[in-house]
């Protein structure tokens, strides 16, 4: 992208700011009457800086996708604010949102379902230019498609193919090219590599990192795969049942996890260096409670190995404890950093 460099914001400035976000779904009550709000995201503060990667990790159902969908405007939040650059999305009008859409794109988990299977690769990539007229004159579409394809390391002969003729990895590249077509400043990746096989996953991860280097694009990268997160994250936020329980740089979170949940997660994650019979003491029992009926106090207390009485009554605040910028939401995070090692 020849003009891309000019539009890259200075690395490190806050690009996306999420404050007190509550979002979720209205479901019918048990009786079938009335509506009940389920806060799948229950008060989240996050900031993504230009040119950086913020990873959100957490188990299934903890609200990662809900967060992502709120950010890109697929879901109207119940409360809180999301601002992108200098635009407050919650109060922005249609036109403003439309303009922001160019800077804020998304790559979904499953490329087969998130791209219209009836379209050709070129049309998939070019769709953004039809939606945002004036971004690129129609005459230049073909050339730009070729350029984007080569950017995601696909041969330009793919332009005329239909998606079902492509492999999963190739499809995901197309998906990335489509997101890049509007030269966004931020790409939200919701489990963008989770459906891929190991070797292909490596290719796509490399691509994402390369693109960040070249184009300065920031990522809000959502994943449940700790290995992947550790590999590409600048910052990490660990999510549990709709809230952020720990937040810090990748090094801080992985090397010195402060929240018992993070620690459990790390020890549960399989690694090729594990061996049979290896013990993982802190493996959690039980499963994530439903966001429709979250536990009182600390949401993690029902599975927490170190829960105490206070946890049932007081909601722990996400506070910086110890190192700069390394925050955790645990009543005992400050006192007992040693348990993490």
């Amino acid at each position: 992208m020849n003009t891309a460099q000019a539009s890259v914001p200075e690395a490190g400035t806050a690009l996306l700011r999420i404050r007190g976000l509550r979002a979720g779904y209205a479901t019918r009550g048990r009786s079938g009457f009335g509506r009940r709000r389920v806060d799948a995201v229950a008060g989240v503060d996050l900031t993504v800086h230009a040119g950086q990667t913020l990873c959100v990790v957490g188990e299934s159902g903890c609200g990662k996708s809900t967060l992502a969908r709120s950010v890109v405007g697929l879901l109207d939040p119940f409360a809180g604010s999301i601002s992108f650059g200098d635009v407050d999305l919650s109060s922005a009008g249609r036109r403003e949102r439309h303009r922001v859409a160019r800077d804020l794109q998304m790559v979904f988990q499953d490329p087969y379902t998130s791209l219209n299977p009836r379209m050709r690769v070129a049309d998939v990539i070019a769709e953004g230019w039809h939606v945002h007229r004036g971004v690129l004159p129609a005459g230049e579409h073909a050339a730009e498609v070729d350029r984007l394809l080569s950017l995601v390391e696909l041969d330009s002969s793919y332009a005329g193919r239909r998606l079902h003729e492509l492999s999963g990895g190739q499809c995901q590249r197309v998906s990335i090219a489509r997101a890049l077509a509007l030269r966004p400043k931020l790409i939200v990746c919701d489990e963008a590599v989770s459906a891929l096989d190991v070797s292909v996953r490596a290719q796509v991860l490399n691509l994402l990192m390369d693109l960040q280097q070249e184009l300065g694009v920031a990522y809000l990268f959502i994943s449940h795969d700790l290995d992947v997160v550790r590999h590409i994250a600048d910052e990490v936020a660990v999510m549990y049942l709709g809230t952020i329980v720990e937040h810090g740089t990748a090094a801080q979170v992985f090397q010195n996890p402060r929240h018992p949940y993070t620690r459990a997660l790390l020890s549960a994650a399989p690694s090729i260096h594990d061996r049979p019979g290896g013990t993982n003491e802190s493996a959690l029992t039980g499963e994530v409670p439903s966001p429709a009926a979250p536990p009182s106090g600390c949401r993690f207390r029902t599975r927490c190995p170190i829960a105490a009485d206070v946890c049932a009554t007081e909601v722990p605040e996400l506070r910086v404890r110890g190192d700069a910028d390394h925050a955790a939401a645990c009543h005992f995070a400050g006192e007992d950093p040693a348990t993490g090692t």
């Binding site: 188990e59 492999s167 190991v198 070797s199 991860l205 490399n206 449940h224 550790r230 290896g278």
Partner: protein, 348 residues
Amino acid sequence: MSSTVEEVAGATEATPVARLRGVHIGFGAPGRERPVVRGVELDLVPGRVTALVGESGSGKSLTTLALMGLLPGGARVSAGSVEIDGHDTAGFTDAQWRRLRGPKIAMVFQDPMAALNPSFTVGWQVAETFRRHQGVSHRTARARTIELMRTVGIPDAEHKYHSYPHEFSGGMRQRAMIAMALALEPEVLLADEPTTALDVTVQAQILRLLTTRQAEARMAMLLVSHDLGVVARVAQHVAVMYAGRIVEAGTLDEVYTTPAHPYTRGLLDAMPDPGRPGRLVPIEGQPPAPGHLPAGCAFAPRCRFATEVCRTDDPATLPVPGRGTSTGHVAACHHSARILGTEPEARS
């Protein structure tokens, strides 16, 4: 950890309960079939967990199903033999197979939601195993089921007996599947990606459950997975599958620390590793579509070690050079020796 290794060492001599010998599986009419699994050799030995790893579509599930005699319609074993307790199962009748499934060999499937019948209670489905094989009354079957459900860690089993699968969480469903498989204390347990659909914390629980049970009953277990981490955590033996062939097999340590096949090597390199930040080293290209295998070694087009011979001759599965034949570390590569001598590619 050390105890299991010793067990394994002792068990190498033990006779396998189930084994696959040069098994070929193909789809389509005899003669014109599309080969999907090609010459698989696999021994399932009591007390040992063998893992089958490989990318999606490499033929892992079909191999497993062949052991159960449950190949999908259209697929059949076109060559080689599936042996259980030393008997070739080729001529088995339905009734013979039925007697084996459950008491001798049992299976845990990948997607527990789909693998459970949505219209019956979980308890009923587990109890059915008892009723079919032991001819016991509903009441007895129920008592045994509840007991069993407790052992696999389903809390409040009495009550949960009457729940339907959709009322269970993913982890609980998988526990129910495991209960069903373990009901008759089979000698062979097949687990096809038993934790793929689950979260890490739950995955850890399920893996622990499986390995404990396996070790207690000294079952022969085949674990199918594409997750090298999971395999590392539970298996003593590993077989790596690529395009329908087992390209490398051996003990976990042999395969993971000194891979002799470029594909195994590629897989390991492609894993993000905290020790090696920066760009990952992917295997370029894609696996061949079944039925469109290249001549020679199926991996050759993606292999950076490939030479002329690789494009013409499909390598035989041979003991890895430099190790005693007794270790059982085998690989199907013309260049195993060269690969063993090369350092992993450095990361940028």
